[in-house]
Subunit: 142 residues, 2 copies
């Protein structure tokens, strides 16, 4: 069954993100936006369907998220979730465990680039449980 993806930003949505599906709960789509590795800023647009989020993970080089559409969530281990909307920027320091994804009711798109891509490694951890995810969604409604 094909999912109908709404147009929530000016950036391309790309293809279903099957390569990283093992690290996601729910579906996502990935559009690589850059080619020139000399710049050391590999940029992609990641789109999450409502309810979709990636596993807890960290990046040895850090990560930068640029929110371009819809509504999403970002949470660092041990901290409250943050509600994200278009125009928000998230700077994720190296080695900080976190997850990001759509809210339960909205599609969500962010551009993402890994810091220090020549040496960066992504460390994938356990899925975000429904309990943690639902609590994060409740927090943003307070």
């Amino acid at each position: 069954m094909n999912t109908k993806i709404p147009k929530i930003s000016s950036f391309p949505t790309g293809e279903e993100n099957t390569g990283y599906a093992q690290y996601f709960t729910g579906k996502s789509w990935l559009a690589p936006l850059t080619k020139n590795s000399d710049l050391n800023v590999p940029l992609s647009n990641v789109t999450f369907e409502p309810g979709s989020r990636n596993n807890w993970h960290s990046h040895t080089g850090g990560q930068l998220l640029i929110v371009v559409g819809g509504e999403g969530l970002y949470q660092e281990r041990g901290k409250p979730a943050i509600h994200l909307k278009s125009g928000d920027i998230v700077e994720i320091a190296p080695n900080v465990e976190h997850w990001h994804g759509a809210t339960s009711k909205s599609w969500f798109s962010h551009l993402a680039t890994n810091g220090n891509p020549k040496t960066n490694e992504n460390i994938w951890l356990e899925p975000v449980t429904d309990e943690v995810y639902n609590e994060a969604n409740l927090e943003i409604k307070k």
Copy 2:
């Protein structure tokens, strides 16, 4: 006289870009969006009033532009100008001479990050003449 800046993206417009005014024809505004230098992705939003553009210049580390609002122009030395709209990405290779700015009739905002910020140097050259600028604007109407 204050300029009334239209809201053309979800990102902050920041302050008038007086620090770089010597390298611009027309006014621009600059909003730094990141703080964590560990990521090596220093991101800013640059907003140009209609007719505003920066001088010919190059970056030893290259540059990435992410168009988030309005309509603009990008031109590399010796090539036709490219018309830019929200959702467009420009990868500027190291040491390539170029300029960017708004079209003559539209405000324009792009996010920008320098590649390889720890070693990057910006090489500023001569202003883009009205002749070159007007020709670029004509090209996009063809």
